[in-house]
Amino acid sequence: MPIIDVHAHVGRWQFHLSCGDADDNLRLMDRYGIDLQLVSASEAVVHDAVAGNSALTKELASRPRLYGYAVVNPNRIEESAADLRRCLDSGRFVGAKIHTHYPGRLPGSREMAGAFDVVAEAGVPLLLHTWGREVLQLPDMVASRPGLRVIMGHAGGEAWREAAHAAASCEGLYLEHCRTAADSGRIAYAREAGVPVERLLFGTDATLIDPCWSLGVLRDAGLTPAELDRVLWRNAADLFGLEIPA
């Protein structure tokens, strides 16, 4: 069964980890049978969005199994809007990524609303870092921007119950459950809350987190083969317009 990973990164992290360049991503993808991976630059997330996106453009040029998210910094909205257009024009970026922790802006803030407008105008899916009860703001933010589709990265983190109900209430919201603390039952809870399997996506947070972590969570979720088919790749292929290489 093909696998598309919709939440990964390229680059080093400021922890005691050896992950670094895009070849580390490919090595782990080969180990676990991941066909395609959607990545943002760690440099863009934690330090300099424009510089990180630019460096990632070069990495993607020679690695067709990797597609990019352009990081949008809600604090630099004009600069980020222009940079997002540049990245999408390269043909190697398929979405936008917004973090909340590093820029210090949460859903509900004026800056985050502006960033959502930029992504909605670009017409690409948004991977949003979500970690807390602020996820309850998302249904209104998404519903008021027709066509916007937001992947709730980490499915709310500790607020995974609230994230499940938020996603259930809004067709533009998707859940992606990568996280180090593998609280059991999160996927079953989301299904029971009313999130259709068509809006569950597979993400790993590689290479910050080993992909086997998310694969293990899916294994323990007890999905049927048809449901796994949707979660592991088909939903992502539909959302991003991707084709699995032959």
Binding site: H16, S18, S184, A206, D210, D220
Partner: protein
């Protein structure tokens, strides 16, 4: 390592001992150290009695005791009861019991447990709880070490042969390897916190870890067997 069963009010459903055993049966894990949630959340004495009673018929589960650090005046009696029952492991719940490293009750419990040669199964941030335990010959298994905090643990483990960490949150692509290759496999034990956490992430990570088969065996079973002996 660190299996729990019973009611937990913050969770949307409870997991019984029977269900925990079913989950373990359907996993690669053959044995576990376990305790009832009654001890940490409600009544340490009754909880320990319940754990011992319940697990007497479960050959794959070894009982773990606990002491409520909010009532450390009774800790000596609790620990004597556990020692008399042959319990080697003491699980501390500093998060649920709101105990800081410097609190008198916490310090008293630790002092009494170490005097009895018990192994501490310790929750919380090792950067906060580790330093006060150094230089005391303590056998401690840190249950909540996140991969992000690994460097701080390794610095302590270099000096403390009795400091160990579980695999539960060592999710980085090389976290397991870094522990094994920098301070040795003896500092690492398998843990998942089943059934509160999924079990497959930890089993897969250990299976695919770039370490020798002997090191993998030590992490999976050998190190815990050594602590039990």
């Amino acid at each position: 390592m660190d299996v729990l069963y019973g009611p937990w009010p913050r969770h949307h459903r409870d997991v019984t001992l029977a269900e925990v055993r079913r989950r373990l049966e359907h996993s690669p894990v053959g044995g576990a150290l376990a305790l009832s949630t009654r001890g940490p959340l409600f009544d340490d004495r009754a909880g320990n009695e319940e754990t011992l009673r319940d697990l007497a018929g479960c050959p794959e589960l070894r009982p773990v005791g606990t002491v409520d650090v909010r009532d450390a005046m009774t800790a000596e009696d609790r620990l004597d009861e556990l020692a008399a029952a042959g319990v080697r492991f003491l699980r501390l719940f500093t998060a649920e019991q709101a105990a800081e490293p410097g609190f008198p009750g916490y310090r008293r419990v630790v002092e009494l447990a170490l005097a009895r040669g018990m192994v501490l199964l310790h929750d919380g941030d090792p950067r906060r709880y580790g330093p006060p335990l150094m230089g005391r010959g303590a056998d401690v298994v840190f249950l909540d070490l996140h991969a992000y905090l690994l460097a701080d643990f390794l610095l302590m483990a270099r000096e403390e042969p009795g400091f160990r960490v579980t695999t539960r949150m060592l999710s980085g692509p090389d976290s397991v390897e870094r522990v094994v290759h920098s301070v040795g496999a003896r500092h690492l034990v398998f843990g998942s916190r089943t059934p509160f956490m999924d079990i497959s992430p930890s089993t897969l990570r250990l299976r695919y870890a770039d370490i020798s088969d002997d090191e993998r065996h030590a992490v999976a079973t050998g190190n815990v067997e050594e602590l039990l002996s």
